[in-house]
Structure formats: C-alpha cells, structure tokens
C-alpha cells in the first residue's frame, strides 16, 4: 500500500499518456470519444458538478464495514452518491487499495465517464485540463458495496491532487497543490491543482496581507516569491499547517484584495485590489497612512505622462555620494531635492545613467575617483551640457541595479551581484525549454521549416554545452511533443531551478532579422542575464543581435507567462527570424545552431562566473593571474559638496524611466 504518493513529483509531461495530459479540449474530446464509442447504458456523465458547502451531516457516521475509509478534501468529505452506504469509499482487503466511487469526485468539479465493458473510467478536471483514465475496481461480495469503484490515490493524483493516508484514523487526506502566484494587471492570482477558496486577512494596517488556502500544500513554490510589482515589498509562501498553505504579501502601502468569485472554489484564484478606506468592511479613520495606495506612494511613482505636457525645470544635483554596503553591494546617491530622470543603459562592462534634465552643483562629483569596490573599476560624473549629464559606472563584472527616490536623500542607485551569480555554473540547475513542439509547430519559416524544429535543435545543443560545464540540466521536452505553457514554468518551479532559458525563433515582416533576448518586466537579475546572453550573441556574425528587451514590449503590463511564472532567473531567446530568408538559412544549419548554443551557454557563464574577456576583477577568481581576486577596500563614503538646495520639491516629476535596451 502506498500510503503517501506525490504525483506532482513526476514530470507532468510524463505523468499521463500523451494525448491525455495535454489540455482541456483534448481531454474533453477524449471523454466525448469515450462516451460515443464504448459507453454502456450504465455509463454516467456527471454534467454540472458542484462543491458541497459543508460536509455531509452523516459523514462521520459509522462505516458499514471494517474496511471503510473516509476521503476528505479540507472540510469536504468525498463520499458516494447521496451518501449511500454502498457507495462510500473502502479499503480493499485483497491489496489494501483505497477505492472510491467515481461520482464522489464531482465535489471537486471533476466530470467522469465509466465504461464497464472496457473496465475503465475517465475523469476530467476541466478547469485545469488534467485528466485520468484508470481501471475499474469491483468490490467483493459481502463488502457492503455495490457498483464500480476506482483507485482513489491513482485517480486523484493524476488529476493534480496530493494524497496522504492516515492509516490509524482510516482517512485519506486529499490536498490541492499551489503552482503559481503572480500579479497580473493589478490582480493577485494564485493557481492550485484542485479548486479551493482562500481566506484573506489583512494585518499591520493592511500592509501585510495573508492568503490562507485550506486543503492545500504549498508544493514547490519558493519561500520567497518574485512578484514584479512596484507596490509589493515582499512576498512569501509557506505551509502554515498540515492542511493550510499560506501566501503572504507585504505591501508598501495599505492594500486589500477581494476574491472575484468569493463563493466558488476555483483552481485559478483571482483577487482584485480593493480600496482600503471603506468603512463598510473595516473601521478606519482618515489618517494619512490609510489613504489609497496611489496617494501614499506618490513619491515613489511617476506622474502620468499624458498630463505632463511641458518639461519640468532641471533638477539640481548637489552631490554624488558613494557607499560601500558590502563586498557585493554598493550604493550611489544623487543628492537632490526632487528626483532627476535617470535613463540607464548597460553594455559589456559599463552601466551608464543618462541624466537628461539636471544641473550639477560645482564639485558635485568630487571624491568619486576614490570610490573603491569589488564590483567597480570606477565612477565618472560627466557634464554633457548645462542641463545634461551622465553618471558612468565602469564595472568589474555584470551587476544588477535598481533605482528609487528616497525623499530627503535623493535618487538612490543600488548595485548588487545578480541572483545565482558569484559561484560556478557547475552544480546549477538549469531548465532548457525548447519552445513549441508536437501539434504546436510555432512560426512557419519562409523556407517551410517550422520553428519547433529549430528550437529543439538549439535547445538540445545548449543542454549539451551546459552539461559540459557540469550543470544539472532539465529539458521541458526531449522529443517532439506538445507541452502546455503553464507546465513549462511549473516544471522549472518544481525543480527549484536556478535558471530558465527558453529557446524560440521569431517571425515578423520579411526584413526583420536578428536575435533578441527577453526578460520579464524589469526584473534586475533577469535583465542582467538577458544582457549577458545578448552581448555574447552579438559575436554571431551571421545573425545580428537586437539586444535584451523586456517582455512588456510584447505585452505591456503582462509579459510572457513562461517568464512571469518562472520563479528563478528566466530569459527567452529568440534566435532569429523565421520570416527572414537570411536568418532562417542560418538557423537550420547545424554548425550555426552549435554556435548559438555555445554563445548562450557562455552568456550564462559570464553572468554566473564573470566574463574573462571584459571583467577585470572576479569575485570568484578562475586563476587568471595574481590580481584576479577580490581587493577588499576600506569602507568609503564620498560626500561631495553639501550645497543647500533652494528648491522646494513638492511634486516629484517622473522618477526614472528604466529604459529597456
């Protein structure tokens, strides 16, 4: 007897037969075909399942036989039709299999069909598209059961649930597994494998929001979630109790969320933001901290562009200060009364912030030449004209950066080591995702080649390159098969991978050509990895590099789901254009595919270990001469002339327009 199984520990792509696992329409078609071809008069198709609001009153009633068991999903007991004793779950004494009546699963929104002639039952959870086909079990005479049953654990786990059998109490606990947490279009979305209803509470003046999901396991979600939203301070997930998964959101200002369908259990929980100062639901005063988020965080947000018709007066930068936070973190502060616009651009070894509308106080950059840090070769503040300047950082390696306005301090630029860098590629877990596959052929090339073939060839070569670096590589598909988009990031999240690299080829007008590396939103580490790979792909020669771009260029405010839903550092490489005859001629050449794969792998290595062609000092030296190591400099704070600003700086102009290269 398997007392505890983890269906989700198996790659979903392999878990069920091809054709069954794919997607709701396919599974629905399967059910339909099943119904037409092999249905016996006794076959049942549960049409409109619903979840009982409460457990049946007699759920805990005495079992009809010694082998009786209970199957519970949170507060819901899954028992047979109308709680008839002869349809209740039981444990088969012959092999200890836990058996459940097929109709019991209707409470989970599962439809089913029974084919007694073939001895099989098919199940479909339409919301997620997961399906299961299992062998029927017939209870022995004298067991007090009639009709056909199915193995409970096999069925429920194929449908995405997790099962745990408490043999002492005779209870099989079924739980949903959380697969995704994301903020999309201002909504918080949590996905689970089985339909659930969360409980939402706000504490700390609604800055700490707690989402408790009963009958659920947190699954492979990382403890610290990456939610690229300017108002989210931190997001975490965890197992609050054996039966409750918890997601916690810390926000920069009071916030509340309401469920879109509060009474309906769902596998996709969509929560809309609600205003926080509504006396109907919470007692609030008109204290400033309970203003809506737009007002309280106005200082950290740009003014609407549409209304700012005229150029604001230049911001006076009084001084530029350098702070060494640690060996791997540095901070540069542009002291100013209001936030100057700063447009960053990063190329190999250099990060430049253009300051298009500033005036520099005399001696504003004094002392910067003494700034020393393992990440930096030097800092320069250059006046380009009376109202234009440039802050240039010469780097020792690829870094991440973030920019924010701190009232009273000025514009704060934080530099750091990218996530997952500073060590070696060896031992890292890397997901290589060959885009498309199976029926999904991707873009059709002008020469008739389909994108899926190019992607797969490059992805396989990339996996070889990375394995040669002793990385642990997982491919989302290793053959020509269809893998739904949601499963690709799910595979990566479950594996707890360090990196996700998706391989694609684009298609647009006939003249468009070149490779592009996408990262999600403005995530600093992903942006840096994309830049490292784009810099390497610029060495291709035969296919030009179009650089790194945010996926918000394709889908404003939303991006690509494989990047958004992957919790690790994730990029998507478009190797070239299938619509361009020159590009596609290259893309089908095995030698070109080799080179693309090698350059992508080298780009990742540059990110993790440093680029020996560009970087001068390595945090983790690879034996490149005596000066390859870290030079630990004394803590240095450079404070230039502290000229008092005359400006009042009440309204903060557009803070930063993080220019997507």
């Amino acid at each position: 007897m398997r007392s505890r199984l983890h269906a989700l520990d198996v790659t979903p792509a392999r878990r069920t037969r091809p054709g069954l696992r794919a997607f709701a329409p396919a599974a629905a078609a399967l059910l339909a075909a099943f119904a037409l071809s092999a249905c016996t008069p006794g076959a049942a198709l549960a049409q409109k399942p619903r979840i009982p609001a409460a457990p049946p009153a007699d759920a805990a009633a005495a079992p009809v036989s010694a082998e009786a068991v209970r199957v519970v999903f949170g507060e819901v007991t899954l028992s047979g039709a109308e709680n008839a004793p002869e349809r209740r779950p039981y444990r088969d004494p012959a092999d200890n299999e836990l058996c459940i009546a097929p109709e019991s699963l209707a409470a989970l929104g599962v439809t089913h069909i029974v084919d007694e002639q073939a001895g099989k039952a098919a199940f479909l959870l339409a919301e997620t598209g997961r399906s299961a086909t299992v062998a029927l079990r017939t209870p022995a005479d004298g067991s007090g059961r009639t009709g056909v049953f199915v193995p409970a654990v096999e069925t429920l786990e194929a449908l995405g649930g997790k099962c745990q059998f408490d043999a002492k109490a005779g209870v099989l606990h079924v739980r949903a597994v959380l697969t995704d947490v994301e903020i999309l279009g201002g909504q918080l979305r949590i996905r689970a494998t089985l339909p659930v209803i969360p409980k939402i509470t706000g504490t700390n003046n609604n800055r700490l929001l707690i989402f408790d999901i009963p009958a659920a396991e947190v699954g492979a979600l990382p403890k610290n979630l990456t939610l690229p939203d300017p108002n989210v301070e931190k997001a975490r997930s965890g197992q609050f109790s054996e039966d409750v998964a918890r997601v916690v959101l810390e926000t920069k200002a009071p916030a509340r969320f309401g469920l879109l369908n509060p009474d309906k259990p769902a596998t996709l929980l969509v929560m809309n933001p609600l205003p926080v100062n509504r006396p109907e639901t919470i007692v609030v005063s008109n204290k400033p901290e309970q203003q809506p988020i737009e007002q309280t965080t106005a200082a950290a947000q740009p003014a609407p562009r549409a209304s700012s018709a005229k150029t604001p007066p230049p911001t006076r930068v009084r001084a530029v200060a350098f702070e060494r936070v640690s060996d791997t973190q540095a901070r540069i502060i542009l002291r100013a009364g209001s936030a100057p616009t700063a447009v960053p651009s990063q190329t190999e070894g250099r990060l430049v912030f253009s300051l298009p509308n500033v005036t520099l106080a005399s001696g504003a950059g004094d002392g910067l030449e003494r700034a020393e840090h393992p990440l930096l070769k030097g800092i320069e503040l250059i006046a380009r004209s009376a109202t234009q300047a440039q802050l240039a950082l010469n780097l020792t390696r690829a870094v991440t950066f973030s920019v924010r306005m701190e009232p009273g301090r000025g514009l704060v630029i934080d530099l750091g080591l990218p996530r997952g860098s500073g060590g070696r590629v060896a031992g890292k877990t890397i997901i290589v995702d060959a885009g498309h596959g199976g029926n999904d052929r991707g873009a059709r090339g002008v020469n008739g080649t389909y994108e899926k073939a190019v992607n797969f060839a490059v992805a396989r070569k990339l996996a070889e390159e990375l394995r040669a670096m002793d990385a642990n590589v997982i491919m989302t598909r290793d053959t020509d098969e269809f893998v739904p988009l949601g499963e690709r990031s799910f595979i990566a999240n479950r594996a707890g991978a360090d990196f996700f690299i998706s391989i694609h080829a684009d298609s647009a007008g006939a003249a468009a050509r070149g490779s592009t590396v996408y990262y999600h939103a403005n995530l600093p580490s992903a942006r840096t990895l994309a830049q490292c790979i784009a810099d390497r792909l610029a060495q291709m020669g035969t296919i030009p590099s179009r650089g790194a771009r945010s996926d918000y260029k394709l889908y404003p405010g939303d991006g690509l789901s494989v990047l958004r839903r992957s919790q690790m550092v994730a990029v998507l490489v478009e190797c070239g254009y299938m619509s361009n005859s020159a590009d596609v001629r290259q893309l089908v050449e095995p030698s070109v595919q080799d080179k693309i794969a090698r350059l992508i792998a080298e780009g990742l290595r540059d990110y993790v270990e440093g680029n020996p062609d560009v970087d001068t000092r390595f945090l983790n030296p690879r034996g490149r001469g005596e000066d390859g190591g870290v030079r630990v400099a004394a803590s240095l704070v450079t404070e230039a002339v502290a000229e008092t600003a005359a400006g009042t700086a009440v309204i903060v102009p557009p803070l930063v327009a993080p220019q997507v290269p």
């Binding site: 794919a22 997607f23 709701a24 903020i183 279009g185 201002g186 909504q187 918080l188 209803i197 939402i200 939610l227 690229p228 300017p230 989210v232 969320f257 309401g258 469920l259 509060p262 009474d263 996709l268 969509v270 809309n272 933001p273 609600l274 205003p275 926080v276 109907e280 639901t281 809506p292 988020i293 737009e294 740009p302 609407p304 562009r305 750091g416 052929r441 873009a443 899926k452 739904p484 988009l485 949601g486 694609h504 298609s507 647009a508 468009a512 939103a521 403005n522 995530l523 600093p524 580490s525 260029k553 394709l554 889908y555 404003p556 939303d558 690509l560 478009e574 327009a657 220019q659 997507v660």
Partner: protein, 213 residues
C-alpha cells in the same frame, strides 16, 4: 463561513470601488499613459511597446441605430523598413444598420487584408461581457490560419485586447476558439486565463517598479 461572507462583501463592493478609482484604475497599477481621447496613430519613439494602451470610449452599447454611425478604434499592422511590426490604431465609423454590436463589428473588421492583425477568415461566434470580463469566441480560422511567431502572436492578441479594451465595460478578456479555451494561439502567449486589458504602463511600456533590488 464568516470569511466567505466577508469575501462576498468585498466582492459586492469591488465594482463600486473600481468605479470610484476611475475607469478600472487598480491599486496595484501605476498611473500610466492612457490617452483620454482616441488616437489615430501611434508615435514610434526609440523602442516602444508593440501596442499602446487602448483609448477608453464609453460602453459597448447596443447595435448602431439607423442613421447614427458609431465610431470605434481598430488596429492594423504597420511594418517599418527594418521589418519590425507594430499595431497602429485608426478610427472607423460603423453604419447604423448593423445587427452586430460595435465590438463584434470592430473585431471582424480586422481580418481579410494584408495589414489585418487577425488571422484570415476569423469570425466572431459570440461575444459576452459579464462583470468586466469579455469572453470572445472565435471561429476555428483564428487558430488554424495562424502560423506566426512571438511578435505576430503579440500583434493578434494585443489587437483583440486593445479593441475590446476601448470599451469601458471591459477590464479583461478571455479568448475562446469554437467555445473552448486554448493553451495559446501560437505557442507563446498563454490563453488559459483571462488577460487584462493593458491600461497602465510606464514610459516605453516598461513598468516603473523594479520588482526587486
């Protein structure tokens, strides 16, 4: 149970709350660049997003009345000399004798020509709007006649989102084909859940928040 009731209360007030915030501005969205009037061209700056947020011009309305043409914004694919493609908006006037709603007519007008964003032969089988969610059911041609890549897929999806997004009653869009949800149109953009109408993006389409430090 208590929580459920509470949630119910939140939900009941959500609509009013959104209205109060103004045309669907969300707490977790940035004040962005939503044009107040319909634009006819999209000015290309250095590297703009593939589509600008749609103008918001009133509700979906009933089928046009005879003699009262209704103006809607539709999109077409513009290709520059480098082969880069993006959507450009233009306003069309719908004559009043149509049976279809302006939204349906607008979607169906975006197929057939070389610059049409929607795949050839696409028909709108149905369009329902419920509580801000527009569910549009396309004919099989929508998927069968699409053979593009990531950029072209973004052009199709964004054209649908922006066209429906111009109606203030629409906050998100669920795309169906022949009544069924599909994983994606071309293998790049997941369509299994409703997509939000782009309303609030920072300059150049990028979010102004950093996500993490």
């Amino acid at each position: 149970m208590k929580t459920q009731k509470k949630n119910q209360a939140y939900f009941a007030l959500a609509g009013a709350a959104l209205a109060a915030l103004g045309a669907g501005t969300s707490l977790f969205a940035l004040p962005g660049c939503r044009p107040s009037t319909p634009t006819t061209t999209v000015t290309a700056t250095t590297d703009p997003p593939i589509v600008s947020p749609p103008p918001r011009t009133g509700d979906l309305g009933e089928p046009g009345e005879p003699g009262k043409p209704r103006k809607v914004v539709v999109y077409e694919v513009a290709t520059n000399a480098d082969g880069d493609q993006r959507l450009e908006s233009r306003e069309i006037a719908l004559t009043g004798d149509r049976v279809k709603t302006p939204a349906t007519a607008a979607l169906e007008s975006m197929t057939g020509s070389a610059t049409s964003p929607l795949p050839k032969g696409t028909k709108v089988l149905s369009l329902n709007i419920d509580n801000g969610l527009a569910t549009v059911d396309f004919s099989r041609e929508f998927r069968d006649n699409f053979e593009g890549g990531d950029t072209q897929e973004a052009l199709v999806i964004n054209a649908v989102l922006a066209t429906l997004g111009q109606f203030e009653t629409v906050r998100e869009v669920q795309i169906l084909v022949e009544g069924q949800k599909i994983d994606s149109l071309g293998g790049n953009k997941e369509l299994t859940a409703p997509l939000p109408v782009p309303q609030t993006v920072g300059e150049n389409g990028s979010p102004d928040g950093d996500g993490s430090a």
